[in-house]
Symmetry: C2
Subunit: 509 residues, 2 copies
């Protein structure tokens, strides 16, 4: 993947040099840096607001800016399809003080959600940004209701959350949000352009981002395709370009173990060039070293697959077991980093990866729509007895039986003496045959790092500490919000709230 990208980029750079030459502009580091002076640029198009990227952040910004009276808003997406990486995640949305929490009698608050996230952030999360997002999360959720998103009629309590506060789309997928938002954008008059690849900023003498270059009619992976256009953005450019989990070179720069062989849940477009272009403009790189792996993924299928949503739903009333020992090895609803680290430590006697298994009673697992699919596609298995299960995965039977007995005591007492798991959602759900079982192994899922922004979605300059004029960022392209470990279902509210925030800031600018 990354080798292809590098080659593409070289072609792209070549193309850009030619265009710049034609415009007769001098550039700093022209063959490398992609941003150029806006002086003397012949604009192909002038828009009011330009949004680069069509995931949660970009779409929410589109809707909010139109609602605030914008007339001419454009979304540019490099892929042929809209929705970006947002369209293929789990569609999980955490918010405090929601209608469903009231219905289920869950006592939650902005402060509680912030505190849960600060804990997972291990001291280096951005408290102001977390609070800003939590305060506006219900508004963002409402935006999805209004657009027609549909959710399961129950809340989930995901790892690291102290209460149940997570909605999930009925399709168990982010597309259940991006599709309605895209429709709503178009209904409101937002103009959407696919195959439109961002190719660098155009900056005036005061350092303000006046516009940008885009390759219109671009085909992903063929860098010379499409036509280079110079687009002016009157109110500003919002970078909602996502993370870099699919850029193997850049993720290996932070963690040499994240080679091309390591699975990744992200869409192929998550290659990070928007983020790196902002660093070239002076944005502050924050927490790039913190790349999150999803502990709910399966080694038996590609990408996010069917197992991820299956196990996210089932973790609270399931038992994760090390196949070498037959024993539990983690709190099944600890935060993502804690669980991913624990899974990666599951090894055979030679030190090779030995994916642990997640054991659930079939009667409890079958409430989730993916249960049929994981069994159908052979990435999950149903067993009628513990003997059959142990044989299949070569787990020592005696300790496994003892572990099941012990775990069921915790279900009964509501007190997990082994790992301190919150057993509320496990109440009455004993581990009993028949069982459904999947294997677990972390996949690269989310980049906690990115550019530093403030609560107005402005991008700070590393030398002045002030916002870079004309530039805004929202979503995974931003860094530092969550610290060391982001909690599950906290990305969608962040993306949408910060997208809405960027729209509000631009409409005041």
């Amino acid at each position: 993947m990354s080798k292809v990208n590098l080659l593409e980029r070289r072609n792209f750079i070549k193309g850009m040099g030619a265009a710049a030459g034609a415009a007769g502009m001098a550039m700093a580091a022209p063959a490398m840096a992609v941003s150029q002076s806006a002086n003397g640029v012949k604009w192909d198009k002038e828009v009011e607001i330009a949004i680069i990227g069509s995931g949660f952040a970009g779409l929410a910004a589109g809707i909010e800016s139109m609602r605030l009276g914008a007339k001419d808003v454009h979304i540019f997406e490099k892929m042929s399809y809209f929705g970006g990486n947002s369209a293929i995640n789990g569609g999980l949305f955490a918010a405090p003080g929601t209608p469903m929490q009231k219905k289920e009698g869950v006592n939650d608050s902005v402060e509680r959600m912030v505190q849960d996230q600060l804990k997972a952030g291990r001291g280096i999360a951005d408290e102001a940004l977390l609070r800003h997002v939590a305060e506006h999360a219900v508004e963002a959720l409402q935006m999805t209701f209004d657009a027609g998103s549909e959710y399961h009629p129950y809340l989930q309590q995901l790892g690291g959350h102290s209460v149940a506060r997570t909605y999930q789309t009925t399709v168990s997928c982010g597309a259940g949000i991006t599709q309605p938002l895209l429709k709503e954008c178009r209904k409101l008059g937002v103009q959407t352009h696919n195959r439109a690849k961002f190719e660098g900023f155009l900056v005036n003498d005061e350092g303000k981002v006046e516009g940008f270059k885009i390759r219109q009619g671009y085909y992903f992976g063929e860098e010379d395709t499409g036509k280079l256009m110079h687009i002016k953005a009157k109110r500003g450019v919002l970078m909602a370009t996502g993370g870099f989990a699919q850029n193997v070179n850049l993720r290996m720069a932070q963690d040499p173990t994240l080679t091309a062989e390591v699975g990744c849940t992200n869409a192929p477009g998550a290659t990070g060039e928007g983020m790196y272009e902002m660093f070239r403009l002076g944005a502050i790189p924050v927490h790039l070293a913190h790349i999150q792996s999803g502990p709910w993924a399966s080694p038996d299928e590609g990408g996010f697959g069917y197992v991820s949503n299956y196990s996210i739903y089932n973790f609270p009333h399931s038992m994760a077991v090390n196949c070498l020992t037959g024993e539990r090895f983690m709190n099944e609803i600890a935060d993502r980093k804690t669980r991913a680290d624990a899974e990666l430590a599951c090894r055979d006697k030679q030190g090779n990866p030995l994916p642990p298994i997640l054991i659930t009673s079939y009667k409890d697992s079958k409430k989730h729509p993916n249960t049929k699919k994981v069994i159908k596609y052979n990435v999950g298995w149903k067993f009628d007895s513990v003997e059959e299960l142990a044989k299949h995965f070569n787990v020592p039977l005696k300790p496994l039986k003892a572990q099941i007995k012990e775990y069921n005591q915790y279900v009964k007492s509501g007190n997990d003496a082994q790992f301190g798991k919150n057993m509320t959602k496990a109440k009455g759900k004993y581990i009993e045959a028949p069982f459904t079982v999947v294997r677990l192994w972390p996949k690269v899922h989310y980049c906690q790092g990115g550019v530093q922004v403030n609560t107005k979605a402005e991008v700070k300059d590393s030398f002045t500490g002030k916002p870079i004029a004309g530039l805004y960022a929202a979503g995974e392209v931003c860094g530092g919000v969550h610290g060391v470990s982001r909690l599950g279902s906290c990305s969608i509210p962040e993306c949408m709230v910060m997208g809405m925030t960027a729209a509000r800031t631009m409409m005041k600018a």
Copy 2:
């Protein structure tokens, strides 16, 4: 500090804009980015090799390039004095297979040193760079011998090292190395310029760094001082500009707890603008989130002070005690991060910081030259009895007495049942009255993050993955080498080896 810097930078940017205007150049983001096109630049000076920064890396590069036949090598230092932050550190130099290890019968190897560092790096260190440095560390040490550096006649075993492999200058300070290296540089003909502040690169149409701007005659903290000069560097520009521990805004971007109130061991010039300028050129930011605090520092004095070297020397045969409990709370020679985290967790009942104490037998501590000084300057205290000691620090006497008794059992048995400390260097050194005691509290000490380099000291471009032509980097300005936690005494060999490496690469270029 940081507010002052921001203001300075604005003035500086203003000054630069004027200069660029005079030269009639168009720039990308001219008011923000500092690098400019080299097209049409009237060069004030042309040199063979330019080295920015006069710490370990810059000085080693100066010497090595002259030895390899360079004729015209220049070192530019923004401060009025030479040596940078290197001049005020502990002067601790780790290397495997040294003359003193042979004398003391220490069994060490390149591989062993690499493995110790990989462990502290917690999986994300750059093994190739660590091995490159370890392989050439003895050469670098020899360069300091040749230049006239003098070392204590014993080795130390620092935290996280599995054997004693650390030399320390007789002055217990980095100046014991920078001063001789500076003298050697000048003897060989390297031209050294102080009050010469780097102000951005000058880059040609192919993206090659042709030269740079410097403010000659600059006074630190007065940004309009001095004269702007354009300097061409035929073989290349080596950035040896150090870390950003003194730039409060930039360190808080990574860790919001590292406010201006948190102590810092670094020289005031460690503000990181060289590093951030390279990011603007396209260098890959690596591990900026990993900022190391020194667990050997004292809250009772500013900066590195007297206590740091005192405690580094004494940790192996001392006992660190939590003043609230009277008990030990860490392995006194664990790696820096492990110890700093443990110290930061020492709190009073209200959760306020309660610095722990390091208790050493006076008879053992007095071998270190700083012992007299810490007592003289009231940052360390001598007590004739445990009762006196406990009263002074308000430590509960009974558990403290029990802890001393228990610890002395470990000294006897050679086996620390509490924290698994390697007791080799504690042999025969029982904790007995009279005692010397200092207080401990971590101070910001070292930035593990920086630009990504390869084993040729070339700086990788984030888009192409290839080296940025004409640009080299060495020392703390580079990132990712050590991973999560750098071991003590491993920075000097890294700085010097990578400086020498850069010289070798440039002389071949």
